[in-house]
Each structure stands twice: as C-alpha cells, then as structure tokens.
Symmetry: C2
Subunit: 321 residues, 2 copies
C-alpha cells in the first residue's frame, strides 16, 4: 500500500529560522535532530548555509550559517540511523566557493533555494554541490507567481544542466489550491525527463499546507517537506506529524515527534505565534508575500483589530464596506 520512494524532509530548524532569525539554542536543535532521527524521517535540514557576507553574525543565529562545528555539536555521537543531514543554500545569498567537499562535511544534501529569476546562480551552485559530492535539490520558491515561459525554461535548464535528484514546487505564499498543485506537478513532470524526482513544500496561509502536500503525493511527488507542529514564519508550514500520520510506511514512528513537540516546540509558542491568522489568510488568497501581514501582526497589540483596514490596505481598496 505505501510508496517506499516517498522521502520526508523535516525543515523545522531551517524554515522555522525565518521566524526568529535562526536563533535556536543548541540543545533545542539537538533534541529536534534526535527526535527526527528516531522517527525515521529521511532528512533533517538544520538550517541555511548562507554567506556571512550577506548576513550579520551579530544579527542572525548559528542556523543561518550551519558551520560544521555547530553541526558537530548537535550531531555529537548520536546514531542517526538512515536519516540524512541537509542544509539549504539560497542561490542569491550564498556563494559556490563556500561549498566544501562533502567528505569533509557532516552534510549529506544541499538544497538550493531560488527564485526563477536567479536560476542561473542556482544551477551553478547545484553543479558545484554535485561536484563536491553532495546530494542536491533545487527548490523553486514563490511558484504561485510563476507559470509561464520562464518557469518552463528554468525547469528545462535544471533538467539538462544539473544532477539535482529532486526539484521542488515551493508554495511560499500558501496560495495554491489543489488544482494548481496538480498543474505545477504536471508541468514539472513534463520538463524533468532525466530521472529527477519532484518535491513539494507548502505553507499554511489557507490551511492547505498538509492537504496540498497530499495532493502532490497523489500526483507522484516523492519528496515532501514538513515542520514540527507546522512551526514557521507567519501561518507556518505543513505539519510533519500530520504527514507521518498519513504516510503508511511502517518505518516511521510518530512518538518521538509527539514527545519533542511537547517538550521543545510548545514552549516556543509563548514567544512566537505561528499558524492560521486572518492577515496571513488575506495575503494567501491574494497570492502575496506575507510580509505585509507579518508587519501588521507585529504592530497590533490586540488580536482582531480591524481586519477590514488591513484588507483595504493590501488590496488598495480603502473604501468603507
């Protein structure tokens, strides 16, 4: 009944780091790492490996850079089983010359995140990562703003010019409905003819993160992303625990996830409120970046203040109802 090809990627620390400038304590990251390994999740992405020339180390925490010594403190001598370690490199915020050989690194997989417009940088980075011995993925962000000839061209280039093993549909704005997921997956399938897998990474602005991930799976997607309790910027992500509840592969173990959510994630909800909120929903249905909603939420002291005003602002429709 289950499809053994399906690989689950936890990106709690990496994508959650967009919420708090990647400031997670080492011991919390270690607990998450161990729980993901114990749950037999296929990959654990511990952060970005972005350039210190692009991000200040005063402002951003260790998981924006994933220095090998920081990874080493987390991994320690814990046996990860078959769980592989991933980091993400933004094509426009990191440099190919910063990629060290895989056999000198704890990292197994490098995921290159890119906008369609930066695809040439992404391809160069993917090529270098491949040459250095890593598994490589390419995550095409803000996909709901793409769909025309530039996306087709980007997919063809990735297909012919890289050894990426997986190329992701990334719904950065949590804007897609199921039929659009089907559309993008079909488009990827059309262009990725060289044995590459398709992945999906969903956000929850319209409470469709998990549902759209399932829709991807139904259409043949084999790499799926989740975060613990959906932790992530704004409305957050597809919850990893829901994914494991859905997938039938008997190797997965939900219990370590329940434990670490209770012990290490729920305490963070006191400081960081991710999840479904009306302003995030509004940017989701308008297919906009949630930045305006996040700024509005930060500025509000009371929940529920005049959503109509926010809606007017982002739709440039300030007329009264």
């Amino acid at each position: 009944m289950f499809r053994p090809e399906i690989k689950v990627v936890d990106c709690t620390i990496r994508d959650g780091g967009l919420m708090n400038d990647s400031h997670f304590p080492h011991d919390m990251v270690q607990k998450v790492y161990q729980a993901i390994c114990e749950a037999k999740v296929d990959y654990v992405e511990l952060g970005y490996r972005n350039s210190k020339k692009m991000f200040s180390t005063d402002e951003y925490g260790a998981w924006r850079f994933c220095d090998e010594e920081d990874l080493k403190r987390v991994v320690d001598d814990f046996d990860p089983g078959d769980t592989k370690l991933a980091v993400m490199m933004d094509a426009h915020k990191s440099f190919p010359q910063d990629v060290i050989p895989a056999d000198e690194s704890l990292v197994d997989m490098i995921r290159v995140a890119t906008y369609v417009k930066d695809i040439d940088k992404a391809i160069r980075l993917a090529q270098v990562a491949d040459e250095m011995g890593y598994e490589v993925g390419v995550n095409i962000m803000a996909i709901s703003h793409e769909g025309g000839m530039f996306l087709d061209e980007a997919l063809k280039q990735i297909n012919s010019e890289t050894n990426a093993k997986v190329v992701y549909v990334v719904d950065s704005f949590g804007s897609l409905y199921s039929e659009q997921v089907h559309y993008y997956v079909a488009k990827y399938q059309e262009h990725l003819t060289s044995g590459k897998e398709i992945g999906i990474h969903c956000h929850n602005n319209q409470q469709l993160g998990f549902a759209n991930t399932i829709e991807g799976i139904i259409k043949g997607v084999n790499y799926v992303d989740g975060t613990l309790y959906g932790m992530g910027r704004a409305a957050g992500n597809c919850p990893l625990e829901l994914l494991l509840g859905f997938l039938k592969n008997p190797k997965f173990n939900l219990k370590p996830l329940l434990k670490v959510i209770g012990e290490s994630i729920m305490p963070l909800t006191k400081e960081w409120q991710w999840g479904y909120r009306i302003p995030y929903m509004v940017t989701g249905i308008l297919n906009q970046h949630p930045a305006s909603a996040m700024a509005w939420m930060d500025a509000e002291t009371e929940p529920g203040e005049d959503y109509l005003k926010f809606y007017g602002k982002v739709t440039e429709d300030d007329r009264p109802k």
Copy 2:
C-alpha cells in the same frame, strides 16, 4: 466559471455552541447574523432547536433551543436579503411534536442531525418538518465510522422516504482524507437518485476541514458548511472566510466577515481556544471522537505537556517509546 448551485451555510453559532453550551450573548449573535447576511451567504444557522426535556435551560444558553422570541430579537427588522435562517434538530434530542408550522416561524430550513443508528427518528423528523413547510436537510454525523450496509440502507431510506433537499457528509472527527471524501460523495450520489443535493461539513483535526470541503465541491457537492474563523469545538471547523475566498460567485462579499471576525470572534479566543492542537490531531488520525482530547486539554495547565502519555492512553499503548 462559478457554479451558482453551490450554497454556503454558516453554522458559527450552532456548531460553535458545542464549545460553550450555546452561551453566546444576543448582541454577538446579532452581529454575526447581520455580517453573514451582508456577505450574501446563503444560510445562517443560529443554533439547535433541541428539546428542553433533554437539555436544562439552566445549563444551556438560548441557542441550544432557538425559541422564536430569541430569534426575533436577533433578526429584528434587519433586511437579510436572500439569506435564509436555519436551525438544527438532533434526531435523538428533539421531538417531531415540537415542530411548529413554518408560516408561524422565522426559520426557513430545519437540518436534522443524526447518527446512522437513529435514522428512523431522523426520517420521521424530516417528514414532519417538510409537512410543516420547511426546507429540510439531513446531516449524517460521524460518517467516518460508517460505510457499510447500514449507511447504504440509511441513504436509500432518506432518498425514498423524505423530501430532504440536501443530505450531508459530516466528518465529525476530522478524520477523513481526500480520497475518503471522494468515496463518501460517490456513495451518496449512488443512492440519492431523487434529485437531492449533497452537502459536506468538515472538522479541522488534521487541518483538512477546508481542503476536504473543496474536494467535496470538486466531486459535485453543492452545500458547504463553514464557521467564522473556524470557530468550533476542539480543532474547529472549515473556516467560512476561506470558503468565500475560494468560491468564485461574485455575489459573495468577504469584507463583512473580516469585520465581524475582528470585532466579535477574536475576543472569544481569549476564553476559548479552538483550532489545531496535538491531542485533537491524535484523535483525528485515530478516527476517534475528540472527547478524550478535550478532557485532556481541559485538565492540562501548560501547553505541550507530555503528548506521548496522551497518545499512549488513547491507543492503549502505555509502553515507553
């Protein structure tokens, strides 16, 4: 592009009343009523009309009974446009003799809620409501525990013995995945051959309330339920504002919903915490009533306390991880 046959039912006050024993102040109910009408939502369900022999009026608020004088205070002289007023009667908690003639009532539609086992009571109630001049719906609850010959039999009976205009798939436990929604809708379509519409009412234990409602629509469901900000017992319901964002019928107006959510719903979140939580997720994936999760949440003082223990309790698996 849009399907004019699709009717949206707001059940914020009715289903939200399972969270607080139907204790909503009259002025809050009035604001919700007016906003739903202004949004051009097709039906607004203001509560249950259950028997005072089954529920104590000391313990339960007005919206468990929906006395005509209480409805009158809400409706007042406000012009509802085309929005119709609905109440729900539980087949096992109300009596046919309590149904007054429709021309003496403010109510347009009576929705009969039933378990498959109470189907004969439901049919009698549906018949009386029809004879008295109401539009009639039948909502089959806990559908995820049904599927065999008794459901087939119940659908055949409703089809041949009632004039119900709509029969609902009710995912009381928030347990269904999209493929199961397709299964139930197809089964309903097979048996409901006398021109009856199919409805869907979803809960959000697995964050699939909205997604499953869309799946129903794609398969031909024409009656869809939502509540403002997903308000409802435990993980809550399909959010009405998401539904209106999705549906393309130009008559709908999202703005009154955003306004009333900010003014009348968000203040309730201080006292009542509905929405996705790990214990509700656990009962969802186990296809159980959320009662155990609600009791556990009520007893907990800190969020995130030992979910593993709860999981062990409900799976009767108390072994350590």
